[in-house]
């Protein structure tokens, strides 16, 4: 008989609204932190040692926060809200002020992607007022590096991820008609296009080391694909879910497991190599919006956090023994 599924390590309550997005910051300097963005525009900074919110930032004039990321070096946080703005926060020494902001004009739900090419130089990919367009900007000056747009009609831009390849920054984007597109950012061209789903791509993540990615959609298929040497996307494997709808998928940094946030209130864990189903974490009573793995240096400390529409964040420790 298989082991019963684990219970959450702890539960973070009190965000006061739907929790949309999560971001860990556990790089060793200072206490381990978890940022969460809620539907009422509040950004909670959770201290994982005390398990209490260290501070709450009111932002985006009460509009929903859909994406959060902290820069590695300085204690800077970037947030994206439904008010069509990006905010840059300075959190050093107890400050909590917006230092900079960018109007994107995007009305969709597509989350941004951040790439720190070298210290001090950071690229940000964000959706624009044109629904299928990606704009890549340099963070310091907000100078636009390029805009990327598919030649075909693929519908709205749904999700994306940018990373640094040998030839330069690469961006992977998922579209409303189920296509996943790989762009070469520096040459502003399209590497390859893959029709991964029949429904809109809701989320994707790429394991840069293994040149392999995964995308979830509003149907019940979780699809993984690989990027070959010629930068072509190829279907790799797929797994059928019991209930349709994946709102977030994350591969752990060690490339062992994959976690997905399901519309059926469950967090699912898969083996990353073959997408073997490993666990179904049942705790939330409403849709799970986001999952995130912590970036602890020490593997056994690595955590999995899930944010749900039921206003709670659950933190799990799973497959972290070895």
């Amino acid at each position: 008989m298989a082991r019963p599924p684990p219970n959450p390590l702890y539960i973070l309550r009190g965000s006061g609204d739907v929790v949309n997005t999560l971001h860990f910051c556990c790089d060793g300097q200072g206490p381990s932190l978890l940022y969460s963005g809620s539907g009422s525009g509040a950004i909670h900074v959770w201290n994982l040692t005390t398990r209490r919110p260290e501070r709450v930032l009111e932002s985006h004039s009460g509009n929903s926060v859909i994406w959060l990321q902290a820069l590695k070096e300085s204690s800077t946080l970037i947030s994206q809200g439904r008010d069509m703005r990006m905010c840059v926060w300075d959190l050093s020494e107890g400050r909590g002020a917006v230092t900079d902001a960018l109007f994107t004009g995007s009305v969709g739900f597509c989350q941004c992607s951040l790439l720190e090419t070298q210290p001090g130089s950071t690229l940000l990919a964000h959706p624009t007022e044109h629904m299928e367009e990606v704009s890549v900007v340099e963070m310091k000056s907000w100078t636009q590096v390029c805009t990327l747009k598919p030649d075909l009609k693929l519908g709205m831009l749904m999700c994306m991820k940018m990373w640094q390849a040998e030839s330069g920054p690469v961006l992977c984007a998922g579209y409303e008609d189920g296509s996943v597109i790989l762009y070469d950012v520096s040459h502003r061209r399209l590497f390859s296009c893959l029709k991964a789903h029949t429904e809109p791509v809701m989320c994707l993540d790429v394991d840069v080391c293994r040149q392999k990615g995964v995308s979830g959609s509003s149907d019940n298929i979780l699809q993984s694909w690989t990027i070959d040497d010629q930068r072509n996307l190829q279907m790799h494997g797929s797994v059928q879910l019991t209930n349709p709808g994946v709102s977030s998928a994350r591969v752990r940094a060690d490339g062992k497991i994959l976690a997905t946030a399901g519309w059926d209130n469950n967090v699912r864990v898969f083996g990353w190599k073959k997408l073997k189903p490993l666990a179904v974490l049942q705790h939330h009573t409403d849709m799970v919006n986001s999952v995130a793995f912590s970036d602890h240096q020490d593997p056994p400390q690595r955590l999995l956090a899930a944010a749900s529409k039921d206003q709670r964040i659950t933190v799990w420790s799973i497959y972290s023994e070895s």
Partner: protein, 820 residues
């Protein structure tokens, strides 16, 4: 010279005998013995005086000289020579007669040891051979031959009758008959040799002997040794085939059946049967009767293998093929006979079905065309009768055979196709049809296998293991890249999400079941129903009958998983919670118009299950059944009971108990069924003979009648110790009496079950007063069923009933004795 020596032979033999009986000098004895041995060459002595001489020698009176000098080689050698070179048939008869007539003494022991020696030095073969040679001893009277055959065949019985537990192993059937078989083989070999040399031989004696042994039931011992050798000898040598076929022709008619049965049973494959039997079935009337009728239609204990060889044998030769058709015709007739289905046991029907399928499989297309009409009739009639049956095994048998036949008849577009769960029996039946293409290969390499299996098996095993290891090797290659280092958690809780929520109130549930078109809502309501009904007693009582009506009429429109069980559980919950009205409703509906058989059966099942639950003491399992008020009350007084419990446990732990037994007293609880048992049973007994347009309990709907009787039996049994039990029992017995000779076995099983239940549950005194008139008749009826019914279950239930009745009788009859 012969006339001159005639007198001396008799006289000399007499004087020798006198010497032997009186003399104590070993030399003298030896001399007389050698003289006697010399006479063996004299035909007259062996024919007329040998028996007397030997009798005199072994008889108890003259034994002392032998026992006193038994270690003397000088005496022993001529004695052995005399006994073991003399005519073997006479020796055997004398020895056996002496053994059976002598009292226990040293003489008996000596006789036994001589007989043992007789068997071990191969005198049996000499005996058989002497009877086989034409112009040998076979000119004897048939009476003597008969005696010899009888003694040879019954040696184990004759000796063990006398010697009881001291019988030597060599005389036991397990050893003697194989020995006899080897001797027969040797003799047959000699016969073949003699025939090659142009001599005539007669096989009549051996045939008689074989027949006699088989008649006595020892065919398996004989044929186990004989048949494998014969089968391999006949494969190469046509002379052997002819000898064996002649031998079988000579078997006396009355022994034919047992010989042939034993032979076919031990032979592997139709080709072997054909080699040994030739066209015996065509030439010999008795053999034909046994093979084409008795073995197929009258007996059914034989393994399928025997049927295969038998029918294959018939199919192998053009002269015998008409017989195969004839067998098929008779089997068809039996198979589609509805009375045969009712009055023969299931095992025999299975056997006949197998025979039918085998026959059909062996026929070729032109023959099938010839018999097409007949087979079609047989198939349609037989399948229909079987589908009517109440016994699932018979129904399935009908379906399988029907499918196979229609497949073979190859009717375009109108092949039968049934839906059933395949089990072992069905797979076996189906395999009978499939085994036909491989038939030829089986024939071309016959029982080599039986000899070579031991050698072949390891090979196949190694190849198997090789393939396994290679497979596992491949697996491990592919496993290198798998996620197997991470063991999955239990994911059984991962189920599809339901859109709507389960109902929380009884009335909601009822409404959903009544009017909802939403499959999911109906399913959830059905799942929630039992729990809701048990938890909310008050609410349930308000709508119980209506709820029951809805459930009874509920169709499985959405193919809900576990529909029947859920529905039944809900109905049971209703019945248990609000017994009186619901039971009244169900029992009236059972006999009313416009219900399907399924619904009526459901009513019966629900009644039985409810009665069972009511009769059980209330356990923790059904805490939900307690009224909600009680639960609330307990909540209020929670802390009080809490401290009381703590004090209680402290006292328990501090108290030292001298006796341990009384700690776990079973608390008596009222039996909830006893008070309402009558309302379960009497309405069901009321209307059984009122035939309606849609429901004819005593006619075609015997399936329901069987279930009804069974349910009544159950209700009766559960009412044991209830005050109303005696009235119930009386009513039930009256009801049962009317249907006890029903033709359907399910109904009869139900009757038997009900009767047993009455005997078990009714107080014995009332049972006897009620039964007093019919007591003897009941007993006779039960005894008759126990003996003659074709259904095994009926028989065993009848025996059970008899035992119960007798037990009741004896307790009742003994009781006054004890009191007085």
């Amino acid at each position: 010279a012969s006339a001159g020596s005639k007198v001396p032979v008799r006289l000399q033999a007499g004087s020798c005998l006198r010497t032997l009986s009186t003399s104590r000098d070993p030399r003298e004895i030896a001399n007389s013995l050698s003289t006697l041995t010399r006479f063996l060459e004299n035909g007259e002595f062996t024919r007329l005086h040998y028996t007397h001489t030997l009798q005199a020698l072994v008889s108890a009176r003259s034994c002392q000289w032998f026992s006193s000098s038994s270690d003397d080689d000088e005496v022993r050698r001529p004695w052995h020579e005399f006994v073991f070179t003399g005519p073997p048939d006479q020796t055997l008869l004398v020895l056996l007669d002496t053994i059976s007539s002598t009292d226990e003494c040293a003489g008996l022991d000596r006789c036994v040891s001589v007989l043992e020696k007789f068997l071990s030095v191969g005198r049996l073969e000499a005996l058989l051979w002497s009877r086989c040679k034409v112009g040998g001893v076979c000119s004897d009277s048939s009476q003597l031959t008969e005696t010899v055959v009888g003694h040879l065949a019954a040696l184990p019985s004759i000796t063990s009758n006398r010697l009881h537990t001291k019988t030597p192993d060599a005389f036991l059937p397990q050893q003697y008959y194989p020995l006899l078989a080897t001797n027969i083989l040797c003799m047959l070999e000699k016969t073949c040799q003699a025939l090659r040399d142009g001599q005539d031989c007669s096989l009549g004696f051996v045939a008689q002997l074989l027949g006699k042994v088989c008649m006595q039931g020892y065919s398996s011992f004989i044929f186990e040794t004989l048949v494998p050798r014969l089968s391999s000898l006949t494969r190469t040598d046509p002379l052997w085939q002819r000898v064996i076929q002649k031998l079988l022709e000579k078997i006396p008619e009355r022994c034919m059946e047992s010989v042939i049965t034993g032979l076919i049973f031990n032979l592997r494959g139709a080709a072997a049967v054909s080699r040994l039997m030739g066209n015996l079935v065509v030439t010999n009337k008795k053999a034909q009767f046994v093979l084409t009728y008795k073995l197929v239609l009258q007996q059914y204990q034989h393994p399928t293998r025997l049927l295969k060889s038998l029918l294959g044998y018939l199919a192998l030769n053009a002269e015998r093929r008409p017989l195969l058709k004839q067998v098929l015709q008779s089997v068809c007739q039996v198979w589609c006979n509805s009375s045969a289905i009712k009055h023969t046991c299931v095992e025999q029907q299975l056997y006949v079905s197998k025979a039918l399928l085998l026959c059909v499989a062996l026929l070729n297309l032109s023959e099938i065309e010839e018999l097409r009409e007949e087979m079609l009739q047989c198939m349609l009639g037989g399948v229909q009768c079987r589908l009517d049956s109440n016994i699932e095994r018979i129904r399935r048998m009908g379906m399988v055979v029907g499918e196979c036949l229609s497949h073979r008849l190859d009717m375009p577009g109108s092949q039968l196709k049934f839906k059933y769960e395949p089990d072992e029996e069905i797979i076996e039946l189906k395999s009978l049809m499939e085994s036909i293409p491989t038939k030829d290969s089986e024939e071309s390499e016959p029982e080599h296998q039986s000899d070579d299996t031991s050698r072949l098996q390891p090979e196949s095993e190694t190849s198997l293991t090789q393939s396994v290891t290679s497979q596992s090797g491949r697996d491990s290659d592919s496993e290198l890249d798998s996620d197997d280092d991470l063991t999955p958690y239990d994911m059984s809780a991962d189920q599809e999400k339901k859109k709507s929520a389960p109902p929380r109130y009884v009335r909601d549930c009822l409404e959903a079941l009544m009017s909802s078109n939403d499959a999911e809502r109906v399913e959830l309501s059905l799942q929630a129903a039992e729990g809701l009904l048990r938890k909310n007693v008050k609410a349930t009582q308000e709508v119980s009958v209506q709820f029951c009506k809805v459930l009874l009429h509920l169709d499985d429109r959405y193919n809900t998983e576990g529909f029947q069980v859920l529905r039944q559980n809900a109905m049971v919950a209703l019945t248990v919670t609000d017994t009186k009205p619901v039971v009244e409703y169900l029992t009236t509906e059972f006999y009313s118009l416009n219900y399907s058989l399924r619904q009526r059966l459901d009513v019966l099942e629900v009644l039985a299950l409810s009665a069972q639950e009511l009769s059980e003491p209330i356990t923790n399992k059904h805490t939900g059944a307690q009224p909600i008020a009680a639960v609330a009350a307990r909540d209020q007084s929670d802390d009080i009971t809490h401290w009381r419990q703590i004090v209680e446990t402290r006292i328990q732990s501090k108290t030292r108990r001298i006796s341990k037994s009384a700690t776990q007293m079973v608390k008596a609880v009222p039996n909830r069924y006893a008070s309402v048992a009558g309302s379960f049973i009497f309405p069901l007994l009321r209307n059984y003979d009122r035939s309606q347009v849609t429901f004819d309990l005593l006619g075609t709907d015997h399936l329901v009648l069987g279930r009804l009787l069974h349910t009544l039996g159950l209700l009766m049994h559960l009412a044991v110790n209830a005050p109303v039990a005696s009235q119930m029992g009386r009513a039930l017995l009256d009801f049962v009496w009317a249907v006890r000779f029903h033709t359907d076995q399910m109904v009869r099983r139900g009757v038997m079950f009900a009767v047993c239940a009455v005997f078990l549950s009714m107080p014995s005194d009332t049972l006897l007063t009620d039964l007093s008139d019919d007591l003897m008749e009941t007993r006779a009826w039960l005894a008759d069923v126990a003996e003659n019914d074709c259904d095994t279950d009926c028989r065993s239930l009848a025996v059970q009933g008899l035992i119960l009745l007798d037990k009741n009788l004896t307790t009742q009859l003994q009781l006054p004795d004890v009191e007085t």
